[in-house]
Symmetry: C2
Subunit: 555 residues, 2 copies
């Protein structure tokens, strides 16, 4: 029997999954919680304080995932290293860092350790909005056609926003860096000793396309004179499609992991995108939702369409032969986590303790007893800005309809509904612009945890929702790509289609829309859209003005 | 030494206060918590369920206040009954009930006890909105000039809205009632054995004016044929100015209270209005705010002005010789109570316990460390509808600007600020319509409890705020009117001016506006007004539509 290992780098932890190549059976899994987690208040060791909206990580935490989680799955499974034919990783994106020519992260060098700009900028680092604004403004002024591929807006979360922030705020860091690189590619570099650049992050996060490459020099020069040659000076131009082999495991990485040197390592991939084939989707019409702290929505299309406010589309970006369309919601699981931490009274904690359940379960239980519309509440799910389709991190949350009789479970349900309305906006935006969707396939942590949420999503969107069998779809997807990197001759597969046929599956249960609930939710959705457009499209920019007043108050 | 007793009937309890007539010194106080409290879920004994928005009380609870709290203040003070020269009461309004010709409340009769319409309808009974709508619609159609006196809108809380609801929903109760009467007047009737009707509730709540009396028969007939003769059939037309003596204490009431039969009893008054002279205000320019579960705002004017959205103005309604203008906010202390009960995490409860303080104090402490604007939050204080200046109980609350970093104390402060903005709307509405205001005088429970709130009100309105020395201004005001009812010859006073000179005083400390805070709050107030007008004046009636959907979901 042959095995592949997928390693999924999330926001708080890295997970290794050892999978049987023939059947997709998940044999063993292990998680390493990053010791420095999300760094958003002060740097480790030096305690250098960070500004609001910053979110960093420690690249050494990623290495520790290999040192801890991979040996653990080998031990747990009893599988010998010789039977592991391939390894692949997936990552959050755009999560990037400046490194030296040999791959050494600047932040690991003593002279750079106290400069926040040398650390990994996590996907949810939101401090590069001025840079994103400039990127967008200049792109419009210079009629850059690529802007349309990204729904007309580049996010502050993306690669060049973050690079430009480094150049603007810490030119010495920019100068000292030989490479600006996605953490995903950096990790594969550490595994193989070979620098590669994957097409998925390049396409979705760094304005690259198979047909046109990167934006032209004069555009980069317009952002900052020193940025003109960023591609040649700071990045490799050898962009490689997903599904390829990056190289063999180097000796150092073999020692970390306990795997054999030379084991096939795949080109890096993105957590969301790698989950698509792992959720059985290798054809158009079925949208995959990776539901965790945020949601990534992915759907395949046969034609090229410009869709306002999406995150982007990349030819061959998810599955070879299709345009891979991506959209996103930036606050879903995080939303409920925030609510539980900040808004649930002690009385509820006591009730949960008495009943021996956790607080999320208690809230779900109470919220499930409410009917759609019964709370009179409506929320805009913008606690972490809006990714699709407004692409605006300066939008903030709204809760409307509260009375003195409003209960916590009503607010909780309204927040779930708001995220469901946010998903419906995305689904309709695809449908109205020529990318059909008739079914949703969910994976990630949330579908396992919250049945009420799944039913509400079905009721709100009117689409049936199926759920991936795997509780760790990205890691499974990575293992599938590891098997493809190894190839059929070594006991793996020659294509991701073949791997999906054998290794991916869905649960039998389907969440079907309740027609009576749908009628009420259609009304509420109408109200949501009206507020969405009023606050999100410039009629009343109060959220942005409050953010400005807030920033002034804090200085 | 002579004494007067004021009895203040609040929402949850009745309070007796025994006061030295010469000095205003408060000698003893006692509170009786209504045994049936606010009845808003089901009737006592029978358990008959109530619809949403209902709020009832038990009239026997009022009698128990006399039986418990008055004997207690006599005992506590050691004052003998012979030295108590006058008693006066004040009440929430409009709080009304149907009674028989001898004053027996219908709800105390076995055959009527299970019918919710026979019980006292408390001021915050909000189920008569359809009736209020009809009252307003017909008044506009029939060009009723009195509508202007009430800011163009009669509230669902007021007398004829509640009477019409009884007639519509329970015509048998209407038919069986010999009197529809304010609880304030009913209580004085119980004390004296004489039915009187006070000008304050008649003027502010029952569309009566000194110059024009009640609306005409044909107007009442337009609301309901059987209502045409409501004045003659169901009410006494002998409307008496405040400050007069209603009668002497009857034997039965003397037995309840331990006071002497024949002790002077004043005409009934309203809790808010009676507090004005107790807060030293007997002249124009200084607005009194009675700050508790809600806020009543009162200001005196020398001229008659029509002001949109106010609660009303009554000539001689507060202080003889002036027009007494009244406005109101329906959700202030209730707002913070709701927040503490529903939105404060267990961790905060633990911190408060460790520090040995209550949760309100902990929140105030944390919120006081924030600067204006620093939270990025803005709220509309409509958790209980909007009284002034929109007069619309179907409006609901809104919180905007939330992020994943939003903390409970930030929301708490935003709710305080929202109520302060609501007060500023009222102050500016008076000022812009010819009723000058240059100082605020606060009384009620909140100013004692929350210094941060007082400072925010000063910063937001730009007015200095003084605070009444008395912790129970309405009860003190009632005692003052008790002393006036007794008259100078009996050791009291001949006018409320004289009583205010001797018996009322303010604290030395003044809350002065912080000019730097005012600048920020001016910006936030601009945003508040924009949302206030958008959601409150018909541009987007989403709050009403959600209420309709909610009502449908519950049936």
């Amino acid at each position: 029997m042959k095995y592949a290992i997928g390693v999924d780098f999330g926001t708080e932890s890295g997970r290794a999954l050892l999978v049987e190549v023939d059947s997709g059976r998940e044999v063993a899994t292990a998680v390493y919680l990053y010791s420095n987690g999300v760094i958003d208040e002060k740097l480790p060791e030096s305690g250098t304080p960070l500004e609001p909206d910053w979110a960093l990580q420690d690249p050494e935490d990623y290495i520790r995932v290999f040192q801890n989680a991979v040996p653990q799955v080998l031990e747990l499974s009893g599988v010998v290293a010789a039977d592991v034919i391939g390894v692949s990783i997936d990552f959050t994106a755009c999560t990037m860092l400046p490194v030296k020519a040999d791959g050494t992260p600047l932040c690991t060098l003593p002279e750079w350790r106290t400069n926040p700009h040398t650390w990994v900028k996590l996907w949810k680092h939101h401090a590069a909005q001025p840079e994103a604004d400039r990127i967008n403004d200049n792109a419009r002024l210079m009629h850059q056609a690529w802007l349309g591929r990204y729904g007309g807006k580049i996010s502050s979360e993306w690669f060049f926003s973050k690079v430009l922030q480094i150049l603007n705020d810490a030119p010495e860091v920019y100068a000292a860096a030989d490479r600006m690189i996605e953490a995903a590619d950096w990790v594969v570099w550490q595994l193989t000793g070979v620098e590669t650049r994957n097409a998925c992050t390049a396409g979705y996060k760094a304005i690259w396309s198979k047909r046109e490459g990167f934006p032209p020099k004069e555009y980069f020069a317009s952002l900052h004179p020193q940025l003109a040659n960023v591609i040649e000076e700071k990045m490799t131009t050898d962009v490689r499609p997903v599904g390829q082999k990056a190289g063999g495991l180097c000796d150092r990485a073999a020692a970390w992991t306990g795997l054999k040197p030379g084991t096939a390592v795949a080109i890096a991939n993105v957590d969301a995108h790698v989950a698509v084939p792992a959720a059985t989707v290798t054809e158009p019409g079925r949208m995959v939702m990776i539901m965790g702290t945020s949601i990534c929505h992915m759907v395949l299309g046969t034609e090229e369409h410009l869709i306002p406010g999406m995150c982007g589309y990349v030819e061959d970006g998810i599955i070879p032969g299709y345009f891979g369309y991506e959209a996103g919601q930036s606050c879903v699981g995080d939303h409920f986590g925030w609510f539980v931490e900040n808004c649930v009274p002690a009385e509820y904690e006591r009730e949960a303790n008495q009943r021996g359940i956790d607080i999320h379960t208690l809230l779900e239980d109470k919220a499930a007893q409410l009917k759609p519309g019964e709370s009179g509440l409506l929320a805009l799910d913008w606690w972490n800005g809006n990714r699709s389709i407004l692409v605006d991190v300066d939008l903030t949350g709204l809760l409307l309809g509260t009375t003195l009789a409003t209960k916590p479970e009503e607010v909780y349900r309204a927040l779930i509904e708001a995220t469901a309305f946010g998903t419906r906006v995305i689904v309709e935006s695809f449908q109205q612009n020529g990318v059909p969707i008739y079914e949703l396939v969910a994976c990630g942590g949330l579908p396992e945890k919250n049945r009420l949420l799944m039913q509400i999503y079905a009721d709100v969107t009117g689409c049936p929702i199926k759920v991936s069998t795997s509780k760790q779809t990205p890691a499974l997807g990575s293992a599938m790509f590891g098997a493809v990197a190894a190839g059929k001759a070594a006991g793996g597969y020659d294509s991701i289609y073949d791997a999906a046929q054998k290794m991916a599956r869905l649960k039998d249960e389907v969440f079907l829309p309740n027609p009576a609930h749908k009628v009420v939710y259609d009304q509420l959705y109408g109200e949501y859209i009206r507020l969405h457009d009023y606050f999100g499209r410039g009629a009343n920019d109060v959220m942005k003005r409050l953010k400005r007043i807030k920033a002034e108050a804090r200085t």
